[in-house]
Symmetry: C2
Amino acid sequence: MSTRLSQLFVRTLREDPSDAEVTSHRLLVRAGYIRRQAPGVFAWLPLGLRVKAKIEGIIRDEMARAGAQEVHFPALLPREPYEATGRWTEYGDGMFRLKDRKDADYLLAPTHEEPFTLLVKDLYSSYKDLPVTLYQIQDKYRDEARPRAGLLRGREFTMKDAYSFDSSDEGLDRSYQAQRDAYERIFTRLGLPYVIVKADAGAMGGSKSEEFLHPTEVGEDTFVRSAGGYAANVEAFTTIVPDEIPLEGLAPATELAPHDTPTIDTLVAYLNEVAPRADRPWAGSDTLKNVILALTHLDGTREIVAVGLPGDREVDMKRVEVAFYPAEVEPATDADFAKNKGLVKGYIGPRALGSESFTGIRYYVDPRIVSGSAWATGADAQGVHVTNLVMGRDFTADGVLEVAQVREGDPAPDGSGPIETARGMEIGHVFQLGRKYAEILGLKVLDENGKQVTVTMGSYGIGVTRILAVIAESNNDEKGLVWPENVSPFDVHVVATGKDQVVYDVAEKLVADLEAKRLDVLFDDRPKVSPGVKFGDAELLGVPKIVVVGRSAGEGVVELWDRRTGERTPVPVAEAVAALVNG
Amino acid sequence: MSTRLSQLFVRTLREDPSDAEVTSHRLLVRAGYIRRQAPGVFAWLPLGLRVKAKIEGIIRDEMARAGAQEVHFPALLPREPYEATGRWTEYGDGMFRLKDRKDADYLLAPTHEEPFTLLVKDLYSSYKDLPVTLYQIQDKYRDEARPRAGLLRGREFTMKDAYSFDSSDEGLDRSYQAQRDAYERIFTRLGLPYVIVKADAGAMGGSKSEEFLHPTEVGEDTFVRSAGGYAANVEAFTTIVPDEIPLEGLAPATELAPHDTPTIDTLVAYLNEVAPRADRPWAGSDTLKNVILALTHLDGTREIVAVGLPGDREVDMKRVEVAFYPAEVEPATDADFAKNKGLVKGYIGPRALGSESFTGIRYYVDPRIVSGSAWATGADAQGVHVTNLVMGRDFTADGVLEVAQVREGDPAPDGSGPIETARGMEIGHVFQLGRKYAEILGLKVLDENGKQVTVTMGSYGIGVTRILAVIAESNNDEKGLVWPENVSPFDVHVVATGKDQVVYDVAEKLVADLEAKRLDVLFDDRPKVSPGVKFGDAELLGVPKIVVVGRSAGEGVVELWDRRTGERTPVPVAEAVAALVNG
């Protein structure tokens, strides 16, 4: 098939769109692939739709190979199933809700665990029916707070979401692996390098969870990896827990004389001055810092909690959000402090916190705060710190939380060496949901012994429109887009330049020959457009193989341009087709 | 490709779903093609999705052939463009509206004239860019008052909507014809007989409008046609207007003595008694009946209007709705009468109505009420009628409206003879919008002389999911579905019966041979299912070609079943492939 540029519905733009904050958005709009309709809501023009269809084709292909079957759910769904699982509320402002003419509540689905679970419940009843993995490629809706990165975070976006259903944990492992393998094949075919990282599973209530990240400096996600092969996103990184220390014989806690030491640095300096250690100077990591956070629970109630962590580390708010999900978290305000008179700002100590304390504020500590570890920390009075405050002897906590900053050089939890941090973009997520949804929605099957067992599920997602943007983000240069071959809107872009009839005759014949070889050809046949504009458009549109039919056409020579390398090779027109088919 | 029924996500049902009111809904649910998620909202199971994809494939193919280019708009759209054209309000309860987290108004688009117009305005600026026809296959939303006929009238449904853009009326005619021709090819390929009928263009503000109807007794639309080739839906039928009669010399109006004649029948009987005609008896068609209707305008105001028509015809409420769109219409209530003291129920005459009357109620008349025509009608006093009340002499009207019932035997407006009525289902609509949307939204291009001209548009729609239901509605028997070949989910359904290994060996080989011929095969390989259940499922699913591999497999014989005719033909297995490929 061929498409004539003179007929194609496209208009390239010289100027960047004023609202484009990322490269992919800028280039996809300028090259006429998409148009913005509202914040985070886009229309697809013919070129964009072609690329999207190619990505979807590769996904469908690999889903079929993995034994997954395609279905299609509505975007408009009734409230009740999402109410049952709590997500009607949990999604907060992130979910679009609406009412029909009878005042019944509906949502525009942000993800489809509930209806998939109910569908399998409707149709299947025996372990013999399982395993089954179903998927859809479908438009989803999330009312993002800041839909600013073009297709990377849209409010209406296309997603491939798959769900597996098994009657046993081993079955789930197999179904999960099949999807994971399919994802590896998909990203390979899409020409998209990826890292598989451990991800936090907490928010969705499941167990195993891995993300596929495309490593890129402009990525919005930070992940960590060790030379020994460990990889995790920062939310899922776990700290190596030191051994506990027997409490017997530890030095007693000692209060220091009051002094103005409101920060960790001033405290460390003061410690080295008034209570120097024999072995080495005091460091921030010897101190225990207590950070006060304010949670807003789903029911709207506000709760103050405290987190204790080594003084040389900050709290990582992304890890905090995961830890306290679905509550919203922010730093405590002056008003919060005012309401809790026991909290002495700058000198908050563990003794003011936790269930056994005088404030009653819940207190969580970093995994490094093990029983027997001794800390210099606040003593809950203005200017006063205490040393040798021992966990398990002088204070306790309500739980352990991983909310401290992760740093380059921290040891990987699997012993594979120190980690480094890198940036990436999430391109896929595979996830063992377990029995949460099946339990709530009553999806059970009869097992071999005629007993009802709850089905265990997996959930597997790829953001189709997001991936398209990620590919654009990593495949471009100052002139425009450079598509990987498998997703390019066309296989070849033939550019005819000049006014000689022979040029157009040669070009027409070449296009026909390429079509005969089943290549999709974009043919720039515009008679009154200058070569410069045509070349600029070709480079902006980003088809990886360009053929220029120009001045030398009369002598039977055309020029092959490799859009990625910039290489230009004159070839006899008779050889051009073979070169393009094989190249 | 082949699909094993043992693996396919499907469960056939013996019972009709309790909420199914039409055959297509009943069968598509029972055969495992769709599942209801909410009123008028359905999920597509693998079999249903296959049929839908085939229909979409044929549509895409013919759209490309007609030179239309595919794009894709969001369903979620901002209010403003629809506000500009008035449709934000006009759609009333039929449109799903919602707000985002910033309280901005959005809608789920019921149709996309506005964003298509704005897109072309964004990209194009010259007559040289035109014509262009764009289309999408996309999920639309309408909050139907009674979403009860399965896919025939869904609230979320898939539609192919195309829009043409031209700089001249002649161009619009050509673009319109190209889509009309494509529709003819599409319905032919879909195996869906159709009639093209004139449709009313008023509601959308355009000029020419035709509907494609699939004639079927269970159709919800009534249309009329003449033996001479006229066809129109009832809303678009026009009455032949009689010649006006000179007013001079017409007999004067005569009031009859009061008598209890509240109906046309009692009036005619009374007329024949007290004022017999010389030429023939009085008939209902000699009387003029005035019907009082209550309009509710978009701004919520209620207005009483009157319609005068020959007494032997009722008002057709569907025609009334079209005539008064976008106001809602209902018969006037007792309260309305109470408020308009001049209206004497049963004896309302033209003199009480119209701008020159004492009630001030707007008065519209049937086209047969021409100047000089004389009528027996109400005299606005209890029990009193008047004869020889002459239009243009004794009364006037505010306008002419086509709201009377259309009857078999009425003359076609094009002189092609008397009409008959028939029933059908709408399967497509082609429509010349003209300049309405372009005017409001400012879509202009420069013409040959450098002058700004407003673009003229066409709008062309096919309800994809509706068509699927229409096909199912017209292609079934008491055993289940019978798909036309072009839309069947599979080309061949191979049923292996019995327990002999040879049966499965022969069947596997046959399936492989059919796959090699590029046929899509559904293979019922279920080992423990009885032949009766397998046959029942095959007949319910409706693949038109069934091959039964059973008892005679050992002798190399299989049986070909033609699902539509029921014919069963034993053939040597060696010949089966050729028979299936060619048959």
